[in-house]
Amino acid sequence: MSVEMQDIHLIFMMPEILVAVMAMALLLLSAWTHKGGSGVVHWMTAMTIIAVILVIRVGEGSGSTFGGQFVTDAVSRYMKVLICLGMVLPIIMSRDYIRTHDMDGGEYHVVAMFAMLGGMIMASSGGFVILYLGLELMSLSFYVLAAWRRDSGFSGEAGLKYFVLGSVASGLLLYGISMIYGAVGATGFKEVAAFLGTPDGHGSQLAALGVVLVLVGMGFKVAAAPFHMWAPDVYQGAPTPVTAFMSVMPKIAAFAALFRILFDVFAPVHAQWGPMVQLLAILSMGVGAFAGLVQTNLKRLLAYSSIGHVGYILIGLVANTPEGMQGVMVYLTIYLFMTVGVFGIMVAFDRQGLGEEISDYQGAAHKQPLMAFVMAMFMFSMAGIPPLAGFVGKLSIFMAAVKAGMVPLAVAGVLFSAVSAFYYLKVVKVMYFDPPVAESKMFFSGGGLLVVTLSFILICVWGVLPGDLMAWTESSVKAWH
């Protein structure tokens, strides 16, 4: 694998370069300005990411650079837009939170941007080494972000836990990559795919073990059961805005990478990874549905809910069809807005130190009917009740599953979704049926209000008219290959 000078097309990496340069520039800016100037850093970060989204949207066609190590195509661009949205929306809504919790140094935004950069690189990776680089950049940034709240011991615990378990996962992934390298003699996706396609590669046990370990490593990153143990603790301990992007962004990046790994690289050994991913899906849905039932903390509940959602999304991967891929993209998009919306409400509640326990929402419908209604709609959407967008996500996933002939998996999926509906309803119940508690009030910052409103509108509109969302994802999937 030789890299020729001619094969460097920086134009394909424009968004990533932009993010990297701006992140460093903002680091310098924040060093020079005083605390009072951190608002500048904050809004500059937001503006930068929005600019990056525009740059990504301009990109067309597909291409690769650095000897095929870095790939860009319609699907990766779509996923990168999601990654950017998953980062910028929590940032916009968390200005107040950052200030009140003394996280206002400016480095916070820079680290967040590096995490985003890592995610974008993952989405574009064309080889295992670059995949690992992106993943580590993202993960390391998240370890730091999780521990950012200096006024909370839980936050430090979360960071440490995330770091230790995440490192184990990275180690496993690296181990798997090295085995694949041992079998193939190369780490580029093209070479590995070509090798696995041969009878030799098909029967290679070393490569098979590598496939398993890579899946385990990625399973950790998306918090799929049984590799989900870290998620509830880390979600709970991390600062709320960080939890917001932690529950969305790494998953999008990992699924973008999994598209390429599973559908391209490991396609010849589908018979091996298919059952594994299926098992991950069933376990995730099960753990997400049943463990969520007993939670009293909203963040932990959302952690289990996200494990469940990952289970549904994995069904789309198991389907191994263009419809499945589209289903994954649709579901991730909708999941992004549902999650960000809920966290936006939690952040607005935080000014009083409330919002993390489900009981904090007691009787919210009586005091803040509009907010309670919005929150209830997010919950119904997460439960997959039509006519809200969450249903459209589930519909596209289950449709792909049934089309691929996996009816039992679809039946398991819908039954688990009915179980998990119980805990979403519990939140609605607390807000609507229980008597209100003493003084509790939400304080929406302008940004928070914007994000929650936007998410709410999208959740409602896409539930009834998902045509444009479907069209975008469909055109991206069609351009794949």
Partner: protein
Amino acid sequence: MLSLVTFLPLFGALVIAVGVHNRPALARWAALVVSGVTFLLSLLLLEGFDPGSHAFQFLEESPWLPGYGLYYRMGVDGISLPFVLLTTFLTPVCILSSWESVQKYVKEYMVAFLALETFVVGVFCALDFILFYILWEAMLIPMFLIIGVWGGPNRIYAALKFFLYTLVGSVLMLVAVLAMGIKAGTFSIPALMDHPFSLVFQIWVFLGLFASFSVKVPMWPVHTWLPDAHVEAPTAGSVILAGILLKMGAYGFLRFSIPMLPDATRVFVPLIFGLSLVAIVYTALVALMQKDLKKLIAYSSVSHMGFVTIGLFTLNEQGVEGGILQMINHGIVAGALFLLVGVVYDRLHTREIARFGGLVHRMPVYALIFMVFTMASVGLPGTNGFVGEFLILLGAYLASKGAAVVATTGVVLGAAYMLWMYKRVVFGEIHDGVSALLDVSKRELILFVPLLILVFWIGFYPKPFLEMFHVSVQHLLHQASVVKVGAMVVK
């Protein structure tokens, strides 16, 4: 036109939600006007409907998600139109009945009711299976809130139970719908009716649909959510629940299971007969022992719906027409009975049968109205209940003599629990607290008059009602007699 009838209530709900603040009276009037106008519009549907054709009428179609083969398709035939009318008719009645009994969050209550009306009417009009499913499920949200916010002391339990029972059934239906739609390449309901499926496939899909519809009807043994939901729901919630939501399950059988899966239907007829007979006899016995008025009527609903499912699955003209008519009857009579319970509950704040007695001395008009509906529920000749039950028993006798005999005991038991209940509540010595009661008010009387008219109209001259769906039922029976499996072989 159909969309207008369907979505006018939702539009009204949005306007009320946004436009009305702190003025409960305005919210009430606005909701009443919206639902009243909707009813009048639905009468125009009846005017333009051609009962001589079994085809779907007032068709509307526009692409929704063409990539997935999903369309927004609406239309009614003789089977769905009566239910549309029943819904638009009962909703204003419900709103009027909540005039005084609902005092907290009036605006939200009205919004929930109007949204519910949209979803239910939509369910009956949808001609795309996914659209049907969406509306079917969406209905859970307002109903969940109606029971949970405005319900009785144990409302949270009841609301959750209602929601989860229905949801578990519904999601299984979703898989069945997807399997069927993907196999046939379309989700259009008329097209699916003509599409041949293999027997094994039909049986699996039938079970998936059955999971959902049997919970909704509800059939024994998945009926246990109903008494809880009925007892805890506010009066109008019970009326809607008994009057319309239960019919959705039976309508599902009529619209989907029987015409689309005729071979599987024939396989499952004995099972459904068995479950229905258990429901008729067992829940009638349970009803006999109830101390709570609403619970008694709730169990009687399960029993009556057992008659309906038997009628539908006799697969002969008398049985199916009787089943449909009985659904309408039950909507009217059970709705009225719940309203009657609501009337005394508003005054005494109890539903315990033992706390009543001697109502006839203080509330003679009430006692008279109550008697009419009790008799209609029992199936006295001259009331609507008689026509429906008679047709069903006739059909059942043609289909299976044994089933007809067992079902008839249900009629006897029905008479027993209803009359005994009536005796304990209305006659006897005047109970404490009853002595100060006032008779029905003018508003309450307005509620009952149209219901009374219908009871006798259907009782004495059911022809216009039967004619509405006669041709459609014949077409349905033709569909049900098709051997789709055979069509597969020919293909």
